[in-house]
Symmetry: C2
Subunit: 401 residues, 2 copies
Amino acid sequence: MKQSNLFTKTQKQTPKDEESINAILLQRAGFIYKEMAGVYSFLPLGIRVLKNVENIIREEMNRIGSQEILMSVLQPKSLWKKTRRWDQGIGKEIMYKTEEIGLGPTHEEMITDIAAKNIANEEDLPFSCYQIQTKFRKEKRAKSGLLRGREFQMKDMYSFHASVDDFKDYYEKVKKAYLNIFKRCNLQAVITQASGGDFTQEFSHEFQVLSNTGEDIICYCDCGFAQNIEICDKEKCPLCKKPLKKLKAIEGANIFSLGDKYSKALEAFYRTNRGEKKATIMGCYGIGISRLIGTMVEVLHDDFGIVWPKEVAPFDYHLISLNNSEKEAQEIYQKLNNVLYDDRKKTAGEKFADADLIGIPIRIVVSEKTLKTNSVEIKKRHEKKTVLIKIKELHKCLTKY
Amino acid sequence: MKQSNLFTKTQKQTPKDEESINAILLQRAGFIYKEMAGVYSFLPLGIRVLKNVENIIREEMNRIGSQEILMSVLQPKSLWKKTRRWDQGIGKEIMYKTEEIGLGPTHEEMITDIAAKNIANEEDLPFSCYQIQTKFRKEKRAKSGLLRGREFQMKDMYSFHASVDDFKDYYEKVKKAYLNIFKRCNLQAVITQASGGDFTQEFSHEFQVLSNTGEDIICYCDCGFAQNIEICDKEKCPLCKKPLKKLKAIEGANIFSLGDKYSKALEAFYRTNRGEKKATIMGCYGIGISRLIGTMVEVLHDDFGIVWPKEVAPFDYHLISLNNSEKEAQEIYQKLNNVLYDDRKKTAGEKFADADLIGIPIRIVVSEKTLKTNSVEIKKRHEKKTVLIKIKELHKCLTKY
């Protein structure tokens, strides 16, 4: 895409009323636009990042056999009455609602109702399904950009099993898939035990990304032990007895058992092969997609701007044309895929500053100077050094990167 | 995908409280699930169709240079106050809202506000952007399945121009792109003049698909003249003088000028090259994605079920294994892409009935009988005849289909 066609502009000024790094950088670089506290629209660069993250998550969920669906945002009061959540807890405190309809902050009621209509016998189990969808929550503190939104993108997945053992097997598969997601986003996640599991605390975990701007605190030991401070009642690691560190972190995902709480309330029963009627065992697995984007910016940025992981970046290459190199740059542009081509009439300084701010992994600069040697200058976003590459070797060189 | 793994089931019974063919067939076949009147969730088969239609639309919009974005559902009252729509018209009658926030029934206010922040000079124009997003409207009559939803999927696009002539050029490009979309969905759309253009009725058109279940009536002449009955004040065609036919139709899309109504109210101004300050000229182009799916079912079904167009179908092939052919069917399954494999323990009659209901374009049947001749039976969904094909020629044969 030609940058002169991109309808959004970068901003030099820090937006007013924003404290968090992700909100500031994402707005300055033109990824998002603030509509109100905790509510952002995604602009052309932003939606490319959003789709990339969605696709990473979709691939990992499909790989463990989960089936994609899309439930509605509007949720009927009748279902939430059955689980007693309409007037208390999340339904009372967090859900935007009218007299009869709520805007989905989560979808346990909805999916259990759908499952109840499709499960008859033991052969119908297990299964897992997920959606990538917009969620709504009345957040009192919505000051952290994409880290805590009133409207946000989420992947929520639900699994249904005939036995606790079968649930446990799947739970471990999801753990691995989630670690893959964080890895592909260049984020190192610590898996912490947390509160919140509905039949045993053993099956409630958070994926925490260490960050000084995180709102969570985790008790952590280098040996691998980690717990959310909410449930940590000790000073020393129970495994190796070293003192526990207390570290700030951003909660990127959580997974936990639901037991038979929802399946009983909403009658998601099945008949065993011996004819008994039993409630299905459920698991629930959430990952905040827009929050993951915010987390990447918080953790991976530098003084000059965002540093996107390769799989997430809005484009693979940022091609920059300087003084009188338009013809050659245009030729290179047509041979590359997934490239943002800065063809604007701006100074080298302005173009480099924008490239650093936007954070595309590989910068390719064509200038009068490099053309004297039939070369272009290549620079990785997270490295300082630049390399001169012959134009005819460019394609081969980039595939190796 | 193996059909035994699909967590949804087909239903023989017509769902209660549904009158429209699309709602009945899509629920019976397991594409959608009704949450409440006018609100449906998309199940695994349904989301595959939804994504296919989204991709057709995305391709056609990208082809005419429009830039994808994703605006928020939650909209601030302040913007709607500026266009005086908060307390009247769509904001009063159709928008779900609280004291300060509305759920987007449309996004003119939001996009114009974003544009205003990104347009400075004439060089910043023209541009066009679109989103594929969930919309919310308080519909009094929500009895037509996906044809009229309270929550529905829509592609809305907005274009910004420095001159009316430039807008007109783009308007014609969109018309062609929209006709491509309908064509790729096997729907024949009639372009009708309609009311609703904000600076001239000349630039307000609907894309109407003829259907006895449509809620619109159009005045139509075989010579090509067509008008929505709302603005048609004549009995005879003004072009060829033949009597006009009055036909029922489903409105699938609409496009119209917005003039400078929103750009003035929300200050989307630009400086001309001579330094004058001017309001941008805007166009607006909507197509209902879930409605398009409903329309395909209404228009293309037969007595046995849905007949999906090739590009929209949830799978390309429906592979059916009958008595003792599992091994051979499994081998064929592994060689085909995008196939639903009916490996369930059901009778031939049940499997064929489900295949007709679900409506995948090409059915491939493997049975003891066909295996005697190393063949499979191929049938196109919309044709009666079946053809025997040698298994080793199957791949070559399907690529020709």
